[in-house]
Amino acid sequence: MKTDSLLLLMRDTSQATSFTLGDWDQVIRLARVANVLARLAEDLAVAGLLEQVPQAPRDHLIAARLLGQRQRMAGLAEIERVRDALAASKLPTVLLKGGAYLAANLSLSRGRMFGDIDLLFRREDLPEAESTLILHGWNSGAVSDYDQRYYRQWMHELPPLTHIKRHSVLDVHHNILPATARHPPDAKLLLEQAQELPDMPGVFVLCPADMVLHSACHLFHEGELGNGLRDLSDLDRLLRHFGRQDGFWATLSERAGLLHLRRPLCYAVRMCTTMLGTPVPNDIVRELRRFGGLRLSLMDAIYQRALRADHPLSNDRWTPLARWSLYVRAHWLRMPPHLLAAHLARKIWFRWTGMPEYPTNEDEVPEQH
């Protein structure tokens, strides 16, 4: 596989001092594609190395860092608005992923870019949560009837809700894996252990072990790995941060069993240690190996490709196949075969005919001044 200066730097920030301008050219491009440029800038700033980066690449790091800091402020303000909206209906605000790291002020939230705020509710609270959020301006815009049914009947979340004025997006979950998955974890177990944040009353995050497990199951069940390296780096930092706490590893292993998430945890630990050098106790690595399945070395080879920045500089000839196989696997894990066949057939039909599944406004026409 190609050497990848971004991975080198993510493993060891002090490598920055030995980089040539050509190395920086690669690092900035790869980090931008992988959505970790702001995180890298924060790492370099914390290590006191940002000022030593040559000016041209440093400007890009500074620019990304500014956006990250801006997003941090906006994210916290939005979380408080969600909390206040839900408090009116006496519903707790349980945050997942990026929003949780930010609200809990974990060090990995520095420079971590995120688009949506993910929320977790008890399934029975979902209708009330949805109507409360709609009342406060978050609506699910143009989503086809098919997609409404896809989400509501089969998935573990509602169609995304977008605020009519501020355009913030909420992903409302009632579980961390689809209802159609082979062994969905029991969301009640997650909610029971959720912890209220001392600095933000009414806002909860998952307990440390569950936070790691959710991040792992999100990354290793999902088929679209646009943010794969960013998410792997989240896991690396969560493990480094919580791994120092007493009893963390034992709890992690126990919760993984309870929530049927040993296999994604196995992949998470393997990829973190091999790609990012995460320190993990040997007995945990050995214990989890048993749950990796028969084709563990094949999965290693696939993930080592698919989890890199998706860019010609880091992709090799096997990368497209690796990504495609994970896309198929994710759907396989998500639904029983008959649903999967119907769903994919529908997707392929729309792609072939070129008909839009529903109106999008993603494409822009260039500004012509």
Binding site: L21, G22, W24, D25, I28, R29, R32, V33, P54, A56, P57, D59, H60, I62, A63, A64, L66, L67, Q69, R70, M73, H311, P312, D363, E364, V365, P366, E367, Q368, H369
Partner: protein, 327 residues
Amino acid sequence: MNPAQPALTATANPITLADLTSTELRARLRHGELVLRSGPIRMAIRCERDEVAAALWLLYSDYPIEAPGGFADFHVHLRGTDLLRRWIKPQIIFEHDGHAPFLALPQPQAFALLEWGMNWCIANYCHQYLMAHAAVVERNGFAAILPAPPGSGKSTLCAALVHRGWRLLSDEMTLIDPASCNILGLARPINLKNASIDIMRSFAPDAVFGPIVPDTKKGTVAHLRAPRESIQRVDETARPRWIIFPRYEAGAAPTLTPMPKHSAFLQLAENAFNYAALGRQGFEVLGEVIDMSDCLHFRYSQLDDAIAIFDELAVHAAAQDRSGVAA
């Protein structure tokens, strides 16, 4: 303090695009190894189309180029779309590092698309600067910022000024360094539309135009080559001195009207791409720029009148500067 400070250490005699043979230029373009520098921005350009190479040859010959394998701020690629489209109504697409921010455009618009795409890269990523959608020109180290909506004659006025002794910093985007509030130049070609093209042809008969592209979303467009001196002095920054909102009005006598600073602030903020993204820093930098500048509305119909008025402003500012009156 001398307001004009070199922003970057430039080598005495940098290699320019004109030092390449046309074969070398096309070879570099084919491999994405043409690294053009305009001010602080290095663009690595990849394109296999000969007409784009020819347009670059025409408009960019005086720009320094860098050896491939170093650092480029942006890697852009202009390419044809799929096989079928190669024969029927061919289209062209702009990619920044594999990502296409815009829909494809008809092939005759290729060079214009490259220019717009490069602007998009800067506007979208260079948050190390406060960026405003405004033309900016310099005289004696002092900058006149011309923010204005499309159709106000901003580019025409800018093009006229830089053919009468003012130095072009940028026609499209004003880059403000937050640390010093100085303005950094790009000295890229000037984008003219419709009637402006013929107006500039008669106003400056020696002006060099790139391809004339009819039928774009905004009508006919063409890019005007930047004056050589502006390109050679691009690394000299300038001090904000005037913020002038121009408006072309047929038959109007040239009139400068002072403008309250608070409304200039709001209007400039509206024209600043990343004002909101920079948060407090954006507010403070913009405030300083407004504080150090005379804010004016300018109505005009004749370019010669406009230039006389701008020259008066420059003479007045230089006199103030000599007598040590604070700007």
